[in-house]
Symmetry: C2
DNA sequence: CAAAAAAACTAGATCGATCCAGTAAACTTT
DNA sequence: AAAGTTTACTGGATCGATCTAGTTTTTTTG
């Protein structure tokens, strides 16, 4: 209960018979102590169970070796990146503190709490704020995934994956399987949606088929809604809505067209903004009796942990989170050291899963 | 680039024409300053954009008003609690710092990083460590959801929901709908699994029906696997496995028994360890053509955000995260103040969704 | 071997706040 | 109006580390 008074550097110095300053040198691993005393001091420190007080250290030294990370706690993919950021920061000799955003906690607020703790740089995952809202911080800010809207060059540095390339990978994969009529469910106003939609449209351009973009969003429910819209446009009957629990069950399943019975101009594949949306869409497709990948191929984006679950096994675009995390930390470290802010773009890769296959031959 | 020197308390004092100590009083909101000067100082501080330096404050005062939270970044329900903890702590006048656990970051390590930042208490969400691994910290530790195995009473305080009551709510709900043969997919070795399984078995005891427990786990894939096992035991044909992408699609769906055609002793409802597992199970049931809730009612546990997505709309047991978070913070605050560690149990509630309904009348 | 250079070590100032003891002024009380 | 009490405010010590500038010891070198 009664907190034992902390073992301080002075205690170690007294016990080792040296000055406080020398203990400081040894603990920091700085130059200026002989190997013999170094070992001795470390031994004494260990015996006393000494742990340096970060607060005091931070107060005095300009260097805190602390990187703050702002993330949205509800976004599973951010969570994965957080994990990787811990490792990346560790490799560069930095520690990480987290601050979550949420409905009642904006990005500014999150960043400020990190500054109070002495963060030397802040990495914001998929920032939604504009430059105006995120400017004026006394430390470098790195945006990981997505850029800060309206920022002057050099103010923020950003690390993102090449959205265009990712979409092109997805489209190339589908075309390689034989797909021609490919639809897109976009991310609505989410970060990165415009870039991905644009790349999709560019890919369709000149292919002889019209681009079909369904308005979506970043969430499962958005994908589900868009999927329902796509099914309707394909002339596929929707199942009764889930709302009425008791109305179900004994009712016979609605008649379904055979696989080849859908409208001949209907898409045979769909590229979806992200994995969460794709999961919602998958659920809706399957609930409607449309088989994936038999009746429709589906490609997501993010290669999130969810997508890799064996019963889902989504074909998706992987963003190499480890590389993104490492690049973000390196960029932050470089700017802490006074270097210039630079924008890093990491190449994505295709992750083949079980939700894509060759389209059903017409008339089967 | 060049970090502007921080505005310090001395700057504010000079600008306001008062002493540093008085500024400190005003900033802390302590007694001992007239309303007029209070307003004046605050105005000057705001004009200069002054923000107190947490590090210095922490160093000097024994109080840091900082609560550390350890959570598993991959667990969506933890993320929800984190969000609520921010609010709960704020209400009690505390700030929150986060530290994530992960494959390469254990609970001890996470707690230590929080202590280095000066946390006065630590809340661990669903701790997996035993008392031995988590003992010896100089600050109070509160476990939120789940208890620390083998801890002496008074060492840790815990805040959890009443697992038994939750399961009884689920069972009561199903029985009220007319279900008698109810199965359970458990949580394997996950925190809380034993308590929930025990409560289920107690509920089945003396009902005239045998308890059916399928080994599961906390993840979607665990639920999916257990669901497949349940289907097999029900004599329901499994669909071809997702593994072979090209093998699907054109193949005709396997013949399926009519709703009433399954083995007469088969369960009509299943209570599942948590929502994630339930989601995996739902997916598998539906992929096999078994309608939920028509052919089988499903109840989850957690009332996670996922469960509330409209296209999922899972019937589940809600744990009132806000209440749990508030209780955890209150408990931490009480123990910081030297109070005794007490264990709080919060009552869960039933959240009616679209995955439960009356069982199909036999022979339909 | 003395002088110069390098390495090992130390005292004291310092970071930016809080805490404590004490002073000055305003307000009660008798 | 003198004595006591409360309120408003201040100077200086302090938290536990780092940093700067110096001092002592050891090593190198001409």
């Amino acid at each position: 209960m009664a907190a034992a008074p902390r073992t301080t550097m002075a205690d170690v110095a007294a016990a080792a018979g040296v000055s406080r300053a020398l203990v400081s040198i040894v603990i920091r691993g700085a130059a200026g102590a002989s190997d013999a005393t170094r070992r001795h001091v470390l031994q004494v420190a260990a015996d006393l169970g000494y742990r340096p007080d970060t607060r005091a250290r931070l107060l005095r030294s300009s260097r805190t070796r602390l990187i703050g990370v702002v993330f949205n706690v509800t976004e599973p993919y951010h969570a994965e990146l957080v994990e990787l950021l811990y490792e990346a920061a560790d490799a560069e000799g930095y520690a990480v503190t987290l601050s979550a955003t949420g409905p009642r906690r904006g990005e500014r607020e999150a960043v400020e709490s990190l500054l109070d703790l002495g963060a030397e740089a802040v990495i914001i995952i998929a920032p939604s704020g504009t430059a105006g809202q995120l400017a004026g911080f006394p430390v470098p800010v790195v945006s990981l995934l997505g850029t800060v809207g309206g920022a002057e060059p050099g103010t923020f540095s950003s690390v993102s994956s090449d959205e265009g390339a990712g979409i092109r990978l997805a489209m190339g994969h589908l075309r390689g399987l034989g797909h021609r009529r490919i639809a897109h469910i976009d991310g609505g106003s989410a970060v990165g949606s415009a870039a991905r939609r644009g790349a999709y449209e560019a890919c369709m351009d000149g292919s002889g088929e019209a681009a079909v973009v369904l308005p979506g969003g970043p969430l499962e429910s958005d994908g589900s809604r868009a999927a329902a819209a796509l099914l309707t446009s394909m002339g596929w009957p929707l199942p009764p809505h889930d709302a009425g629990p008791a109305a179900r069950g004994t009712a016979a399943s609605p008649a379904r067209p055979a696989t080849g019975g859908r409208a001949s101009g209907a898409p045979t594949a769909v590229v979806i903004f992200n994995d969460r949306s794709a999961l919602g869409a998958l659920d809706t497709f399957r609930a409607a009796g449309l088989r994936v990948p038999g009746g429709l191929s589906v490609v997501g984006y993010d290669n999130s942990r969810m997508a890799r679950l064996e019963h889902i096994n989504l074909t998706t675009i992987g963003q190499d989170g480890a590389e993104l995390a490492a690049a973000a930390v390196r960029s932050a470290a470089a700017r802490i050291g006074g270097g210039p802010g630079q924008d890093v773009v990491v190449a994505p890769s295709l992750v083949r899963g079980g939700t894509t296959a060759a389209p059903a031959p017409p008339g089967t």
